[in-house]
Each structure stands twice: as structure tokens, then as C-alpha cells.
């Protein structure tokens, strides 16, 4: 690690509230997962409704047009693409009625789930009051307690005072926060109220924990998530089980069961894991009001959780772990690879279902693409990527913060990306379906056809999360001098979301396209032939690709503008929980070298200009006009110029990567980008000089091929160079024993 350390004032505990809670996004993810999963059932439901039988027969016949379109039947990929488009249009017309029905059932079903969930959420507090035999805690019962609680709420500055209720017959010493929007309750047990008189500090600690749940805004999120889950069970799961059992189709029942059970378990376990995390936060919040000593004592008195699966279904962590977290809040900043895996599985299932819904809407409206980006991939990506980045990207920022603050051993954020990727890949097993549904896949596709794309996905996510960590490490140093890091990390996560949306859209688009081709012709060359035009004429020329590459280096390097302005690293008020005069260490890392990267990039660009000038002189002086005027020459000449430019950009990126010790790859990309821009300008100017036309399409195309193509090559080579450089720099020097003698 290329860091040195500066001694500064450091209070004792890291502040987990400096960052938005990562569990907020988990709650959103759970809700989306449940809704997404519901779509599978509504979709399946259609096949069991007797009055839709005729529609299904017609719909099945609609897909026959597709079966006739095989890549080997067409002379080139363009003809194949045209035939596919024509078949697609025929399919859309034919299946429009069926899609309207599917859409109506799905939309109606989702609306029903949300309505039922809203009802459950709204009436849940009443049910809780009734079931728990909870009555208002009045001055008549315990005047001192009522006064004390009122003062406590005032003391901690709770914005909305809850209603305190109790069950005198509950002899345990516990409490509970529940309620709904603008109607919160804190339930006290009879045992706890007696504790007010026997051990008031313990009583205070427990009540503060519950008030912390309110302060942390846990109640609405928790109970709405629970409401959504029960609505799913009531509206989807139970009716579907009944219908399937009535149909007596054991194979389908088993198939669905095998997919529903893991999904149900995943949602349930994830929910409980999220709830356990909220308990840590409530403990820490309570400790900021009243210190950790008494709370620690009360937690010590709690019985230990059971081990094994019972610990996984528990909604409270083990008391010992809670005590540890109270003292060492950095434990809340650790990366959780299992959670990343779970997020991947949940997102895959929900993604596929939303994709299907959007494809129906696309078939009905005829709107399927925006700027050559497939809407059926773009829309679910826009929905889910912010959630993925919100959960795991924020985790990465937090872990990086803990690492910089020196309180936590560094974790490789790349492994988090790998875990997510594995979840995304393996989640597709749960989508195996006997029905010919869009978005589902078979085992052969999953294991063989998708293998290269899955490997690419894993690599992409590995480096993506490392990139997030790199950006976080730079920007957190800037944030150290701000009142809060919130604006900075929110901006970072938005940018990360944009990049991942673009990448995933492209990757899934290639995966689906190659799947379609491979279903018809199991030939790699056919696949490559068909994907090549897509890559060269669509992906490389898209503004979104350009944007993704620019964001990749622009976000981390922009920090250097602010970073240079500060002279010293100061302890941030937001970084630590308790104000203290203890000294602390905040890792100060190598400075960025954007100016050096810029210089190397410009030099690379100028070298290209010089070479281009020589080539043009050679072309116009020595090559016969008869040759230069041929299409073949034009094609090869353009190819040489563009490939040469990309190679030169890659060389520039490698030089910067090796030279610069920090964020070498990203600074290398920046240099390559500058070089690519200079090369594009040179090509356009040369064109003008030789009297050829120059329009926006030409400039856009050259820019796309030169800058985006160069960036791709530069990224690959810079990563390899970075790995080699890192290996050489960290390789221990070994001397033969004889050389270890001192010479005089």
C-alpha cells in the first residue's frame, strides 16, 4: 500500500450514520424482488385459466415465424438482422391480444398486491395492539414512568413523539417499536415498567434502543416490507398453490416448488438479516445519546441466540456480537459477500420478470429501443442497478472509509463484485421454466451458451467494485474537510449506476443475441459474424458508451481539483461518533498525477498527428490514384488509421499506468482519452485539408471508433500493465546468500 500516515485527532468510534444506511436499499430490493417474483406467477396463471386456452394456442403459433429465421439461411448478418426484425414485427402483431391479457393480469395483480400490502401496513398496528393486549400507559398506572418517558423523548429531540403502550401481564423485560406513518408506538412490557423502579438505567437503555429505531426510521420500512411479503403470500402464493394442486400436474407443481422455495427462503432470510443489522444501528444510536456502558450491561444479561439455522431466522443478533459492535463500530463497515450473492440472485429473478413486462409493453406500443438500447433491458437495468449500487456500492464506500480511517483491515471490493456476479449468474437457475417464456432460459443455454458472457460479467463486476473503491478512496479525502460526505458519495453512486446500467445493457444484449443465434446454429464463427456489426456499428458509436468511459476516469480524477486545495488532513466531525481528544490516524495516500497523465496523453496524440502527416504525404505522393480511389483501399486505410490510433492510446495508457503509482489505470484511461481526442481532431482536419467533406456523422463515427475503441483497448492493456507493475513492485527482492556480505 502506497500510503503514509499523518497523526491527527481521532475520536474512538467510526460513525456509521455518516453514510446513508445500506439497509434502506435492501428494503427496496426486497420489495422489488417480491413484486418481480409475483410477475412469474401471474404469467403462469394465464396458462391455467380455462377461458384463455384458445388465446394460448394462437400465441404459441405466433412464434412459428421466428423458428424459420436461421442465421445460416441468410448471406450476411445484415440480411439475418432484417429477417429477425420482420419476424419480430409479425410476432408482435400476432401476439398483441395475448400480450394485452398478460399485461392486464400482471398489472392488475401487482396493483392488488400493493393494495393488500397497503391495507396490511395500515391495519397492522391495530392488530399488534389487540394481539399484544397493549393498552395506553397512563398516568393513573405509573405517573413517574409516564413523566420520565415524556422527558426522555424531549431530551433526545425525537421529532415525533410515539404513543407508549404496555401490557402489564407481559412479565418479560422488553420493549418494541411499531406503527405506521405518523402513528408510532413503543410497547413496554410489565416487566420493563417494574425495572423503572429497580434498575432505572437499564430501563432507560432499553427504551432508548426503541426510540433509536424510530429515530433511524426503521418502523415504516420494516412494516411495509413485512406487509408486502404477506400480501405476496395471500394474493399470489396461496391461490397459485391451490390452482396448481387442483390441476393435479405434479411435474409443474414440483418445478414451481423447486423455484419458489429457494426464492421464498432467500427473501425471508434476507429480510431477517436486514432486521438484524437494524438492531446494531439502533444500539449504536442509543449509545450516542447515553453512552454504551449501561446498554452493554443490559445486552450482557440477554440470553444467547441459538446457533445454526435458528440464528439465521432470528431478527436479533447475538447479544455478544451486539456488545462488540457497540464498542467497535467499524464492524458495521465490513463487506458482506453473502449479502452480495443474495442481492445478485434476487436481482436476477426480479430483473427477468420486469424485462418480460417491458417486452410486452414494447410489443403493444411498438417502442422497443432508445438510441439503439433495447428498452426491455434498459428499463430493468435502470430499476435494479441503482438498487445494486445503492446496497453494495454504498457498502464499498463504507468499507473504504473504515480502511482509510485505519480501523479495519482492507477488503478487496472486487470480491464483492464477484459475489454479486455469482449471484446474478446462479440466480438464473431459478428461472428455468417449462413454459416458452421470454426471459427464462434452459440449462443448456445457461451452462454453455452463456458461459463467456457470465465470465465477462464476473470480470466486469470485479473491476467495477474495485473502481468504486478507488473513487471512494480519493473522494473521502476530499470529504474529510466537508461537513458531511453525503453529497459526495451520492454523486459517486449515481455516476456508478449510470456506468453499470450502460455496461449491463450492452452485456445482456450481447448475451441474449448470441443465445438466439446459438439456438439456431451452434457455431462460434456465426455468432461472431453476427455480433461484429453490432459491436462496430452500434456499441462503439453510442453516446452512452462514450459517457461510460469518460465517467470511469472523470469521477475519480475530479477529486484532485478539490484535493489539491487543502493543505492538511483534518479529522472530520462526521467521521467519528464521540468527540474526543484521542489522537487518530487517517491514511494519507499518494497524490494523483492528472497533469502528468494529460501531458503524456497530449504527447501521444501529437505523435499520432506526426505519423498521420507522414502517412498522408506517403499516400498522396507515392500511392497511385487508381489504388487510393478503390473502396478496398479506403476500408483498409481507415482500419489502419483507427487501429493505429487505438494501439497508440493503449501504449499511452500503459506508460501512465506504470509511471503513476496511484489509480494508474484510470489516469492511463484519461491520458488515452486525451490522445484519442487529439487523434480524432487530426483525422478530421486532415480530411478537410484534402478537400473531403466533414459532417457531424463523420466526426461522431471517428470519435466513437477512435475514442471508445481506443478506451476499450487502453483499459485492457492498462489493467494487464497494472497487474504486472503491482506484482513487480510487491515482489520481495531475493539475494543469493553470498551477496549478503559487507564490503569494506
Amino acid at each position: 500500500m502506497d500510503t503514509n500516515s499523518a497523526t491527527i485527532h481521532r475520536p474512538s468510534r467510526l460513525n456509521p450514520f455518516a453514510f446513508r444506511s445500506d439497509t434502506d436499499s435492501s428494503f427496496v430490493l426486497l420489495i422489488i424482488s417480491v413484486l418481480g417474483s409475483s410477475l412469474v406467477f401471474f404469467n403462469m396463471l394465464v396458462y391455467y385459466l380455462p377461458f384463455l386456452h384458445q388465446q394460448i394456442v394462437v400465441f404459441t403459433d405466433c412464434s412459428l415465424a421466428f423458428l424459420k429465421v436461421k442465421p445460416t439461411n441468410y448471406p450476411d448478418p445484415y440480411a439475418y438482422a432484417d429477417a429477425l426484425a420482420a419476424a419480430s414485427a409479425t410476432y408482435d402483431r400476432c401476439s398483441s391480444t395475448f400480450h394485452v391479457i398478460l399485461f392486464a393480469i400482471s398489472a392488475g395483480g401487482i396493483a392488488l398486491i400493493l393494495t393488500v400490502a397497503a391495507g396490511i401496513y395500515w391495519f397492522f398496528p391495530m392488530w399488534k395492539l389487540r394481539r399484544g393486549k397493549l393498552v395506553p400507559l397512563s398516568s393513573e398506572d405509573a405517573p413517574q414512568v409516564v413523566d420520565y418517558l415524556s422527558n426522555l423523548c424531549h431530551e433526545i429531540g425525537l421529532p415525533a413523539r410515539p404513543r407508549f403502550v404496555w401490557n402489564p401481564l407481559n412479565l418479560t423485560s422488553g420493549a418494541l417499536a411499531f406503527g405506521r406513518l405518523r402513528g408510532y408506538y413503543v410497547a413496554l412490557s410489565g416487566g420493563l415498567v417494574t425495572q423503572f423502579y429497580t434498575d432505572q438505567p437499564a430501563f432507560r437503555a432499553i427504551v432508548l434502543h426503541e426510540l433509536a429505531h424510530l429515530r433511524n426510521a426503521d418502523v415504516n420500512k420494516t412494516y411495509f416490507t413485512v406487509a408486502i411479503w404477506w400480501a405476496f403470500v395471500a394474493v399470489v402464493l396461496l391461490p397459485f398453490v391451490v390452482i396448481v394442486l387442483l390441476q393435479s400436474q405434479i411435474a409443474i407443481t414440483l418445478d414451481l416448488g423447486l423455484r419458489v422455495l429457494p426464492l421464498t427462503a432467500l427473501v425471508y432470510l434476507t429480510r431477517n438479516a436486514v432486521l438484524r443489522t437494524r438492531e446494531y444501528y439502533a444500539d449504536v444510536r442509543a449509545s450516542t445519546w447515553d453512552g454504551a456502558h449501561v446498554l452493554g450491561r443490559v445486552l450482557k444479561a440477554l440470553p444467547h441466540n441459538r446457533k445454526g439455522w435458528q440464528a439465521m431466522v432470528s431478527v436479533h443478533p447475538d447479544p455478544d456480537e451486539r456488545r462488540r459492535v457497540l464498542d467497535e463500530t467499524q464492524r458495521l463497515f465490513r463487506l458482506n459477500f453473502w449479502r452480495a450473492f443474495g442481492v445478485g440472485v434476487a436481482v436476477t429473478i426480479a430483473f427477468s420478470n420486469i424485462q418480460e413486462l417491458v417486452s410486452w409493453i414494447g410489443s403493444l406500443t411498438g417502442i422497443k429501443q432508445v438510441d439503439f438500447l433495447a428498452l426491455e433491458l434498459l428499463v430493468p437495468a435502470i430499476i435494479f442497478v441503482p438498487v445494486i449500487v445503492g446496497v453494495l456500492g454504498l457498502d464499498t464506500w463504507r468499507a473504504t472509509f473504515a480502511k482509510i480511517a485505519g480501523d479495519e483491515a482492507p477488503h478487496d471490493a472486487g470480491l464483492l463484485g464477484l459475489s454479486l456476479g455469482l449471484g446474478l449468474v446462479l440466480g438464473r437457475f431459478l428461472l428455468l421454466s417449462p413454459q416458452p417464456l421470454l426471459g427464462t432460459t434452459d440449462l443448456r443455454s445457461l451452462l454453455i451458451y452463456e458461459l463467456p458472457w457470465n465470465i465477462l460479467l464476473l470480470i466486469l463486476l470485479f473491476f467495477f467494485y474495485r473502481w468504486i473503491a478507488a473513487g471512494a478512496s480519493v473522494w473521502l479525502e476530499v470529504a474529510a474537510n466537508h461537513r458531511s460526505p453525503r453529497l459526495i458519495y451520492t454523486s459517486g453512486l449515481i455516476i456508478a449506476s449510470v456506468i453499470l446500467v450502460i455496461w449491463l445493457e450492452h452485456l445482456f444484449s450481447y448475451r441474449d443475441l448470441s443465445n438466439i443465434i446459438l439456438q439456431e446454429s451452434f457455431s462460434v464463427s456465426v455468432v461472431i459474424d453476427n455480433l461484429k456489426p453490432q459491436f462496430l456499428e452500434v456499441t462503439l458509436l453510442q453516446v452512452s458508451t462514450f459517457l461510460a468511459f469518460v465517467c470511469l476516469w472523470a469521477f475519480p480524477l475530479a477529486a484532485s481539483i478539490w484535493r489539491e486545495r487543502r493543505a492538511t488532513v483534518a479529522a472530520s466531525s462526521w467521521a467519528f461518533l464521540d468527540s474526543s481528544s484521542q489522537s487518530a490516524r487517517w491514511s494519507v495516500q499518494e497524490p494523483l498525477r492528472p497533469l502528468l497523465a494529460m501531458m503524456i496523453g497530449l504527447v501521444g496524440g501529437l505523435i499520432y498527428c506526426f505519423l498521420l502527416l507522414l502517412i498522408e504525404i506517403w499516400r498522396h505522393s507515392y500511392v497511385p490514384v487508381a489504388i487510393t480511389n478503390t473502396d478496398q483501399f479506403h476500408l483498409w486505410f481507415a482500419l489502419v488509421l483507427l487501429t493505429g490510433g487505438a494501439v497508440l492510446q493503449a501504449i499511452v495508457a500503459v506508460i501512465v499506468t506504470v509511471w503513476v503509482r496511484r489509480l494508474g489505470v484510470l489516469q492511463g484511461l484519461f491520458a488515452a482519452f486525451l490522445a484519442g481526442c487529439v487523434m480524432t481532431a487530426a483525422l478530421c482536419i486532415t480530411n478537410l485539408l484534402y478537400g473531403e467533406s466533414l459532417d457531424l456523422f463523420y466526426v461522431g463515427s471517428v470519435l466513437g471508433w477512435m475514442v471508445n475503441g481506443g478506451a476499450m483497448l487502453a483499459l485492457l492493456t492498462a489493467l494487464v500493465a497494472s497487474a504486472l507493475t503491482g506484482w513487480i513492485r510487491h515482489k520481495p527482492l531475493q539475494y543469493p546468500p553470498s551477496s549478503c556480505t559487507l564490503s569494506t
Binding site: D141, P168, L171, T172, S173, G174, G191, Y197, R278, L302
Partner: protein, 163 residues
């Protein structure tokens, strides 16, 4: 003695004992005594904590004296009633009720003149009351010291016959 009157008497007496031995439980007394007379076993059995969402954690039950005091006091009142029935000629419920009530200091007339008319337990009977309370407390798994304290408090609440 009517059932409700008897329960009222037990509750009144038990409340005094709770106030002496476990004053922190007084806020719960009203609800707990009502629940006890409805279903004594359920209240005596107690309940364990649950792992509830946004709760504090799975808490163990706090040992409360109130249910035990209510149970012991029920036994004591039954005993005193039986003793009174043996010692008086009449079987009229109102008379017995009145006598039993007046055997407890809490309901003892303030006027000194009336003291001679107040029935009282002999020392031997008081010893039996103490034993009864002590054994009942043991049955309810109260520790020795607490059982002794409760038994003494209950005996102390009774009127003693002049020797």
C-alpha cells in the same frame, strides 16, 4: 362469602403485601390481580420473551411477586374463613364475611372500643397461617428468604388475639 367479595378482599390484602415487599410492582397490580382471578394458572405460569421485529431482543421473564402473593393470600383467606366458620355458631355469609374481613388489621375498626368485638386468631392459628404461607411460597418456587418475608408480612397483617 360471595366470590367477588372474597376476591376483592384477597386483592386488597395482597396489594398491601406487594406495597411492603415489592413496591415496584404496584403499577401492574390492578391488571394483574384482575387477570389472576380470571385465570390464576395462566398468570402464575408467566411467559417467555419473543424475538420480535424492532424489539429489544429475546428477554427472559422477570420474577414477579404479585402473582405469588395473590396465590398465597387466596390460601390464607380460605384458611381464615374455615377457622371463623368453626368458631362461630351462625353460618350466615354476611356475618362470616364481616368477621373474616375484620380479622385483618387493614380493616380493623379505628375505634378502640370496638376492638373487643373484633375476632382474632390465636398464636397457634397464626403459626399455622405462617406455615401455610411459607409452604405455598415454596411451592411457587420463591427463595427461602423471600418466602419467610412474605409469610411474616401476611401474619403481621392479621389481628392477634390478646393473650
Amino acid at each position: 362469602m360471595a366470590y367477588s367479595d372474597q376476591n376483592q378482599l384477597i386483592a386488597d390484602l395482597a396489594r398491601d403485601i406487594v406495597a411492603q415487599t415489592a413496591p415496584q410492582e404496584l403499577p401492574l397490580f390492578r391488571t394483574m390481580s384482575a387477570a389472576y382471578f380470571k385465570n390464576p394458572d395462566k398468570v402464575l405460569k408467566g411467559q417467555s420473551g419473543k424475538d420480535e421485529m424492532l424489539g429489544f431482543g429475546v428477554a427472559e421473564a422477570v420474577v414477579m411477586l404479585t402473582p405469588s402473593i395473590l396465590a398465597i393470600m387466596s390460601q390464607v383467606v380460605q384458611f381464615v374463613m374455615a377457622e371463623v366458620q368453626k368458631s362461630v355458631a351462625t353460618n350466615t355469609a354476611d356475618v362470616i364475611n364481616d368477621l373474616v374481613t375484620r380479622m385483618f388489621k387493614k380493616f380493623r375498626p379505628a375505634d378502640e372500643k370496638d376492638h373487643q368485638n373484633v375476632p382474632a386468631l390465636t398464636t397457634e392459628q397464626l403459626t399455622r397461617v405462617r406455615n401455610l404461607a411459607y409452604q405455598e411460597a415454596h411451592k411457587l418456587a420463591l427463595p427461602d428468604a423471600q418466602a419467610g418475608l412474605l409469610a411474616d408480612s401476611i401474619v403481621g397483617s392479621l389481628v392477634v388475639a390478646p393473650s
